[in-house]
């Protein structure tokens, strides 16, 4: 016999304490009487009406000791070696995407839940149930629950995901329970192929012969008013001819269909074209019926229109910049002379060349050769320094991520300047990219308005930078920095994390999942993270520059989860399994223990009454 909670036995210390109290309190009262003659004589007439009356004085003590012993043992939870008795169950439920595959109208996940329910129902009274839900995150739905009905009810609330899952955490949790009690009955309910182990019972669902097809690797390009959509299709179980349809812009009627012959387990490309001047999205669908629908469809979104922004260039000599912007961005660039500048809004980026506005606009801004201070810019002007001979700029050797990204592809060894502006009170959130004589010359950061800002401390006409090979990558990097793309791409796999670039003035950033759930994304950092756990279209919605922006992405089914006959890695616990069962059959005896406690209280009251009331 062992104990689940041996510390409960510390309660037995109470027994000697009770005995001590009994000895100290149980004194005889002394009294002198005229004669003890009659009392002594009464011994000859003494008859015990109750054979247990001799124990009367000890009943209280015995009951107290029994109560303490029983309560201590109940807390310590002794485990007896009793076949066919109660056990501690740990159910590990695979909630990966492949568990959504259907057989005879029921998913593998539903079958697994039904099997767990059956196991709970068949278990002995007093058993405990632990359910580990292995989804995109591994969580314990409940631990050591003893209520069968509640365990079954909570089991119904567990949902299957569409993503691939990792068993590392589940294995660690199961190992913890197993270490606590090597007699733990660990069950793994999955559709992956695992070998059963002595200490883990693997219950497999689904069949290798289940028919499933999948589509992935979608790409789209628009040339000459023709959309070319490419994808790869695969049949996992058998050779098949798959019918693939192309839908444009969310329409229900296919723009194009094609039949593709694929061999079992081999990926086959499929290309469909359709006439289109532009498109917001296209969808490619395998129309053949199989056991998993979610991997038969894939959607590609074009978010160019949402990602576009306008640039206002304020300069008397905009030649270099205008040329560079025309080449490196698709955005519309408006150019105005400084005396014509008025801030009417509507631009995502303002570039001021050799001109300083009276008020900074509430958007990303480049200040090039600004020789006057402006509020909220994050720095002040100490004056202009003219060099006798052109001097080279020094490239930052910082290894910070931002610096590395901004200097990506830039050599920076032959950039000379002949005049520069000294700055003061530099805002600490700026990153210096180039400097001269320890004075920052090109820097990037966030100004007091919370907008990204780039500062050049020299005139582009008084440097050879525009003519160097570094100019193009520098402009590209700075554009990416000041007006980053919200999303890197639109095609994701379920289970991936989406990095959302949080730009200036992005407000109320949230994502709407395929089933309509709203997920708010942290916009207090540069990058917000969205975890994708459903197959389908996610909409990332926010407000910027006065309008609502909607970026759509598609999370496709993971390739691994499309394979109906996937073989898993080993799933085994360390340690030898034991077969000591919890004696749960006798748990209802707790009622008896409670009755004993009540008897004890009643006896104690009678004892006190007799002792102190002196009837």
């Amino acid at each position: 016999m062992t104990f689940l909670f041996p510390l409960g036995l510390l309660g037995l210390i109470g027994i000697p304490v009770v005995i001590l109290i009994y000895i100290l309190r149980n004194k005889f009262n002394e009294q002198t009487v005229p004669s003890t003659y009659l009392w002594e004589l009464s011994e000859k007439f003494y008859k015990r009406r109750n054979p247990l009356s001799g124990l009367t004085g000890l009943i209280s003590l015995i009951l107290q000791i029994l109560t303490i012993a029983v309560v201590s043992l109940a807390i310590a939870r002794p485990i007896f070696i009793m076949p066919n008795s109660a056990s501690e169950y740990c159910f590990i439920l695979d909630a990966s995407g492949s568990m959504n595959m259907q057989t005879d109208g029921e998913t593998r996940f539903d079958l697994a839940k039904a099997a767990i329910e059956e196991e709970i129902k068949d278990s002995r009274l007093g058993s405990t149930y632990t359910l580990i839900h292995v989804s995109t995150e591994t969580t314990a739905a409940y631990e050591r629950l003893t209520d069968k009905a509640l365990a079954i009810e909570l089991l119904q609330d567990v949902q299957c995901s569409d993503a691939s899952v990792q068993y590392t955490d589940a294995l660690a949790s199961a190992q913890k329970y197993f270490n606590d009690n090597p007699s733990f009955e660990v069950y793994l309910y999955t559709d992956k192929q695992y070998n059963s182990h002595d200490n883990v019972n693997v219950v497999k669902f689904g069949s290798e012969s289940d028919v499933n097809y999948a589509i992935g690797g979608v790409e789209g390009s628009l040339t000459n008013n023709t959309l070319t959509a490419k994808a790869n299709v695969v049949s996992y179980t058998k050779d098949a001819t798959l019918s693939v349809a192309l839908y444009l812009n969310g329409k229900d009627t296919p723009a194009k269909t094609a039949d593709v012959a694929v061999k079992k387990g081999e990926s086959a490309p499929v290309t469909l074209t359709a006439a289109a001047q532009s498109y917001d999205s296209f969808r490619m669908v395998i129309t053949n019926k199989d056991c998993l629908d979610s991997d038969n469809e894939i959607v590609s979104y074009n978010q160019q229109s949402e990602a576009s922004y306008n640039i206002l260039l304020v300069s008397e000599t905009p030649f270099f910049l205008q040329a560079a912007l025309d080449v490196f961005t698709d955005s519309k660039v408006d150019v105005v002379e400084p005396n014509a500048y008025t801030d009417n809004g509507g631009y995502g980026l303002y570039i001021f060349h050799s001109y300083t506005p009276e008020v900074l606009p509430d958007a990303a801004v480049w200040l090039i050769n600004s020789n006057e201070s402006v509020a909220d810019s994050g720095f002040g002007i100490r004056g202009t320094v003219e060099l006798e001979d052109p001097a080279p700029l020094v490239k930052s050797d910082s290894t910070a991520t931002t610096t590395r990204a901004l200097l990506n592809g830039i050599d920076g060894r032959n950039i000379y300047i002949s005049e520069y502006i000294k700055y003061s009170g530099m805002y600490t959130k700026f990153t210096t990219l180039f400097s001269y004589n320890a004075h920052p010359m090109i820097m990037a950061g966030v100004n007091a308005l919370g907008n990204r800002e780039v500062v050049f401390g020299f005139d582009l006409h008084k440097t050879d930078l525009p003519l160097s090979s570094d100019f193009a990558p520098l402009i590209c990097n700075l554009l990416t920095y000041t007006c980053p793309d919200v999303l890197d791409r639109t095609d994701y796999v379920c289970g991936e994390d989406v990095n959302v670039n949080i730009t200036a003035n992005m407000k109320n950033v949230k994502a709407i999942s395929p089933d309509g759930e709203e997920i708010y994304i942290d916009n207090t950092t540069d990058i917000g993270v969205l975890h994708l756990d459903k197959v389908g279209t996610y909409t990332i919605r926010f407000f910027a520059m006065g309008e609502e922006k909607n970026y759509k992405i598609y999370a496709s089914s993971p390739n691994d989860e499309s394979n109906p006959a996937l073989v898993g890695e080993s799933f085994a616990l360390s340690g030898e399994k034991q077969y000591e069962k919890t004696d749960g059959t006798y748990d209802p005896l707790m009622i008896l223990f409670v009755c004993l406690a009540l008897l004890f209280i009643a006896d104690w009251m009678v004892y006190c009454y007799e002792k102190y009331q002196l009837r």
């Binding site: 149980n26 002198t32 005229p34 008859k47 009837r615």
Partner: protein, 295 residues
């Protein structure tokens, strides 16, 4: 004995008792002797008020001349009795703050003595302590002597134990000349039966009065008790006293009472059980008449 048991109030009570008894009974142990104790001997004993019908030759005319009231002269009868009263003066009789048993014993003794002197009998009162018998009132005769001697009862020291037979048997108990009263709680292992035998052998009228306290008759103690004997501290009774023990105690009590009573009856002696709180009048006007000690 700090408390004065025999006082004026008690004596008045005795006087009233004697008057009532006189009008209702002939006297003590009337079966053995005539009610007229005052006989025709020449020895003057006392006066009493003249009652019409009395022998006018025994009127004291000198007293009439002095007090202008008729008094009858009384003379000792030739069959004058000798009442001997034995009081158990052990510590058990005076245990507790009230010493109720001792007080009751003294009152009973005083009452018997008074009634006896009223009958013109001689009265001797003895105190039993250990195995000794101390005579504290010696052959008292007449009311004057009673009033002079009776205060000795207040001086009795109740202490030690009392061996009734050891005290009475070797003593002079008289022969066929009256009543012997033993007043005790009789809660002893000692052989008091020999004393009764001795008195009965001497043709004495014997009355055993057992006086017990309220606690002895109906004990109230409960729980775990260590009871010490007041006379012999080395004796004790240690037990958890519950209903079963009380039941056994009462059985023992009945056994003791019955044993004394039966023994007395078997020897032709009288036995009176009384509690320490029974009024004296009830004892004499009730119990003793029932027992035919008084008629």
């Amino acid at each position: 004995m700090k408390k004065l048991v025999i006082d004026e109030a008690f004596l008045s009570e005795l006087e009233a008792l004697q008057t009532v008894l006189k009008n209702n009974v002939a006297g003590m142990f009337g079966g053995n002797r005539q009610s007229k104790n005052f006989g025709s001997s020449c020895e003057f004993a006392d006066y009493r008020d003249y009652i019409p019908g009395d022998d006018i030759t025994k009127i004291d005319w000198n007293a009439y001349a002095r007090f202008d009231k008729l008094y009858q002269k009384l003379y000792f009868d030739e069959r004058q009795m000798h009442t001997r009263i034995y009081i158990d003066a052990s510590r058990s009789m005076a245990h507790g703050d009230e010493a109720e048993k001792a007080e009751q014993a003294i009152k009973i003794a005083a009452a018997f003595a008074y009634l006896s002197v009223c009958e013109m009998d001689k009265v001797s009162i003895y105190v039993m302590q250990g195995g000794e018998l101390n005579e504290i009132v010696h052959s008292m005769v007449g009311k004057d002597a009673y009033l002079n001697c009776i205060n000795a009862l207040n001086e009795i020291e109740f202490d030690g134990d009392a061996k009734i037979s050891e005290a009475i048997v070797p003593s002079t108990v008289g022969r066929g000349d009256g009543l012997s009263v033993i007043i005790s709680d009789f809660l002893t292992d000692e052989d008091f039966e020999r004393a009764i035998d001795r008195l009965c052998e001497q043709k004495r009228d014997v009355l055993c009065v057992q006086v017990l306290s309220r606690e002895e008759i109906n004990p109230q103690v409960r729980g775990k008790m260590h009871l010490f004997d007041s006379e012999t501290p080395s004796r004790f009774f240690r037990k958890k006293i519950n209903q079963d023990v009380i039941r056994a105690y009462k059985d023992a009590f009945k056994f003791v009472v019955d044993r004394i009573k039966n023994y007395c009856e078997s020897r032709g002696a009288h036995y009176l059980f009384t509690s320490a709180y029974t009024p004296i009048s009830d004892i004499f006007f009730g119990n003793l008449i029932d027992l035919e000690v008084m008629k």
